[in-house]
């Protein structure tokens, strides 16, 4: 390490790192950081940097060497106390954290398929759609409207199932999505990687086209208009009263039922995330996890070693699909509305972008990826849009080229350019950092080995001893 020259910035980072990881400092640092961020967001509920600071505290919590109990405790406080309060104070943040949790859960599910088993699934939202339409169909009045033309529901149609059956449907959605994954996977998992990607893409489009057109001969999906209203599970009235009495003084006003529902779905999504993380962690080092890795790295070699290739892939496909199914049920209930447009190809690519950005196979990476993409989408792009439209209202002029902002086309709305964002992220990540922002341990090791090999090649003498310093990085 000593022989390489360092620039002052790197030295500073090293010193900070050494200081931050010593003794009790990380505990104190985290406590101060979280407290500061919380106060900042609490005092200025519209500030984006303060909110980002709060989000980033989760990263510090993850990386700094503190005891497991401390991490869990601070994490719980952040997720269950700080976030809800802030979310209710500014409903926009609640949407952001809800979307982050939903997409993080989806991305974690896709991560099993793409990151662990190496199967590129471009139709992942199809399974999400299966779950969503399952609850949308049974949790609404749709079953009584099978012979009606879309949009002509007679008033007073009863709901088919009681709202509390939502909880049952969380599991049913999981099962049905898994079944669909099994039925699709059984034939198509025999085809090679890039073909599989196109086939799953096709499947995603098929599901969307079906959702769009199955309003005849029987009106199953209500066509392009989508199904609404969809029931939400009942919240226990006693708990609501207690919670409201606690939260009202903190928030400064009475909390509405809708906000409680948003909180409820946010916490439900968190629960599902925790479940995914536990499952993935347990699987990663199990026989199945090793089989996934073997199949991902070299299918032929894995088969030769006795790994049942199709079965292994199928399992990854099914587990990934089932998580998407649960999230679909949750999505349908939380929005009380589903339409085919929520499940287009761009959604699949959005989830894929999160996984790739964060790091294939890396759990913290994927969560960070989901957070970054959602924040970019909801806060940065929309912030830019608002800023531009404010400029458009004003009389400001760009000085040198003498261009009045008023003349700017109102089609230039950054919020509409998500595809551009996804595209740039995907290209840049593939070219410069294929392992993602936070690489998975295994991939990091593999990348280092490749680096050492390249070093050996470039030095031309082939002595591994010469290359070893590079491996220490």
């Amino acid at each position: 390490m000593t022989e390489t020259k360092k620039n002052p910035l790197a030295a500073l980072i090293d010193v900070t790192k050494a200081w931050l990881t010593r003794g009790k400092t990380p505990y104190i640092f985290i406590a101060i950081y979280v407290a500061l961020a919380t106060v900042l967001v609490y005092l200025s509920p519209r500030s984006v940097p303060a909110f980002l600071m709060l989000l980033s505290s989760a990263l510090f919590l993850y990386y700094l060497p503190t005891s497991f109990k401390f991490k869990i405790a601070v994490g719980l406080i952040l997720a269950l106390v700080v976030m809800p309060v802030i979310g209710v104070r500014n409903i926009f943040y609640l949407e952001v954290i809800f979307q982050i949790s939903v997409f993080a859960a989806l991305a974690l599910g896709l991560n099993i398929v793409v990151g662990f088993a190496g199967l590129l699934n471009l139709g992942y939202v199809a399974f999400y759609a299966v779950g969503a339409y399952l609850w949308a169909f049974f949790g609404s009045q749709q079953i009584y409207l099978l012979n009606e033309i879309p949009g002509t529901a007679p008033t007073g149609t009863p709901f088919f199932l009681p709202a509390s059956s939502f909880y049952l449907f969380l599991f049913l959605g999981m099962g049905v999505a898994a079944l669909v994954g099994f039925l699709l996977g059984l034939p198509v998992l025999r085809v090679r990687g890039d073909y599989l990607a196109i086939v799953t893409l096709g499947f995603g489009e098929v599901i969307r086209v079906l959702a769009n057109n199955l309003d005849k001969p029987l009106n199953l999906t209500n066509g392009p208009q989508g199904i609404t209203p969809i029931q939400r599970p009942p919240l226990p009235a006693g708990l609501l009263v207690t919670l409201r009495s606690i939260m009202t003084p903190v928030v400064g006003r009475s909390v509405t039922d809708n906000e409680f529902y948003n909180l409820f779905f946010y916490i439900l999504a968190l629960l599902i995330i925790v479940m995914v993380i536990v499952v993935v962690n347990r699987l990663d080092d199990s026989k199945i996890g090793r089989a996934w890795m073997a199949v991902r790295e070299d299918e032929l070699a894995a088969a030769a070693m006795g790994v049942p290739v199709v079965k292994t892939k199928l399992l990854a496909f099914i587990i990934g699909a089932s998580f998407a199914g649960v999230m679909g049920v949750l999505f349908a209930a939380s929005r009380t509305f589903v339409s085919p447009e929520s499940f287009n190809f761009m959604q699949s690519i959005g989830v894929l972008t999160m996984v790739i950005l964060g790091g294939l196979g890396s759990i913290p990476g994927v969560i960070v990826g989901a957070a970054v993409v959602v924040v970019l989408n909801l806060q940065v792009l929309q912030g830019l849009s608002l800023w531009l439209s404010a400029l458009r209202q004003s009389d400001a002029v760009i000085p040198i080229i003498n261009f009045a902002w008023k003349n700017l086309s109102n089609q230039l709305d950054p919020a509409k350019y998500q595809r551009l964002l996804f595209g740039v992220i995907l290209i840049l990540m593939m070219i410069y950092r294929q392992t993602g922002l936070i690489p998975a341990e295994r991939r990091k090791r593999a990348a280092e080995i490749i680096e050492i090999e390249n070093d050996i090649k470039n030095n031309g003498n082939g002595h591994p001893a010469d290359a070893s310093p590079a491996g220490e990085v």
Partner: protein, 391 residues
């Protein structure tokens, strides 16, 4: 005898012309026979009564009267698909890589062609031109679309694919998805900045929209007719020219030989003194410009384009390429024809035969169903040879 057989004229021009004719006639005949058979089978079903009720004619008559139009439309669409599919198949042949962004190269070609025509229209040149002059402008628009699309394809390869050569298969593929999304919104950005709208409608000029009556006849006392739009003729003529030209280039010229050798083995080709990177760039140029031309033809045929217009034709053309055996130029033409025909048949007849339960919207599903079935049961395609999979 042998010398005649190997002559460039036969190998490069007559053979592909013959193949195209066989593919059209073959797929048309098979599908027509199938439809007539269906009409006979369904003649006593409720579908027949419903057709009588709605259109005043029996199912058989409905089928027969629409058949000529469906066939000509199918051929037109088939040529568009074939031209796009060639781009996929050429790149796949050389790099074993699915160029996911090809559908956006197609859309870009369409936009440049249409914009060229819009500029010409605004300057009054289109209105002033004679029919022949207007055809000249159309050729210019197609060439502009080809040039822009070809150049973009080469640039994309240089920036987003070449640094990833040798990486695991999915890496350049994901990069290609990124390029595809980037290009969609880049087109949208440019188009909406200039006019505030991001869709374009091709100017209507000269006699492109005119219908030439080909046949007037009557069947069972009811007259029926077959018209051919001038623009459909244009699509077919331009596509035939391109397909034959490509076949000539690949099968008989020295450049074609270099392309084929790079497709067989990049390393050996390089040892033989072939500049592999140049050939790969050239492949993207050819594939991209064919896609661009197809884009302009698509705009001519369907009039309205938007930045996302490439998605479905691109996927269907990919299906066509897989159907014919990806990497196989003849196969791409066959796949394009068959898919174009199938889709047009489904669009025309599905609704009537299912009594309106399944409309023409399901023709998109048809392409995917075919793709999935092909990949499962015959991944090498109709014409492809079974090759060992490389990891």
């Amino acid at each position: 005898m042998r010398r005649i057989h190997n002559s460039p004229l036969i190998q490069g021009i007559l053979t592909p012309l013959g193949q195209i004719a066989i593919f059209i006639l073959g797929s048309g005949a098979v599908l027509s026979a199938f439809m007539l058979l269906m009409a006979v089978i369904f003649s006593n079903s409720p579908a027949n009564l419903m057709c009588l009720d709605k259109n005043g004619i029996s199912l058989m008559e409905y089928t027969l009267r629409n058949l000529p139009q469906v066939l000509t439309d199918g051929v037109t669409l088939g040529f568009v698909y074939a031209a796009i599919a060639l781009g996929y198949t050429m790149v796949y042949g050389v790099l074993e890589f699915i160029n996911f962004a090809h559908s956006e190269i197609f859309a870009l070609g369409a936009f440049v062609g249409v914009e060229t025509l819009i500029v010409l229209q605004n300057s009054g040149k289109l209105a002033a031109a004679s029919t022949l002059g207007a055809y000249g402008w159309m050729v210019l628009a197609i060439l502009a679309g080809m040039a822009a699309a070809g150049a973009t394809a080469v640039l994309v390869e240089r920036v987003a694919y070449r640094p990833l050569r040798g990486a695991p298969r999915l890496v350049p593929f994901i990069s290609a998805i990124g390029v595809s999304f980037f290009l969609q919104d880049a087109i949208r950005l440019v188009e909406s900045l200039t006019t505030g709208q991001f869709h374009r409608i091709i100017p209507s000029f000269a006699n492109f929209d005119q219908r030439i009556p080909i046949m007037r006849s009557s069947l069972g006392g009811v007259p029926f007719s077959l018209d051919l739009e001038v623009k459909s003729l244009w699509v077919v003529a331009a596509a035939v020219l391109m397909l034959v030209g490509l076949n000539y280039l690949v099968n008989t010229t020295k450049i074609g030989k270099a392309i084929r050798s790079v497709a067989q083995s990049r390393d050996s080709a390089s040892l033989m003194g072939i500049n592999v990177n140049l050939i790969i760039s050239l492949t993207f140029l050819i594939g991209g410009s064919l896609g661009g031309a197809a884009g302009v033809l698509y705009a001519l045929k369907f009039t309205r384009i938007d930045p996302y217009v490439g998605f479905f034709p691109g996927l269907k053309a990919f299906t066509a390429a897989v159907m014919g055996g990806i990497g196989n130029i003849t196969g791409a033409m066959l796949g394009g024809m068959v898919l174009g025909m199938l889709e047009t048949f489904a669009g025309a007849y599905l609704s009537v035969y299912t009594m309106g339960a399944f409309g023409a919207e399901y023709k998109d599903i048809l392409a995917f169903a075919i793709l999935i079935l092909m990949l499962i049961f015959r991944p090498a395609g109709l014409l492809g040879e079974q090759v060992a999979q490389k990891a």
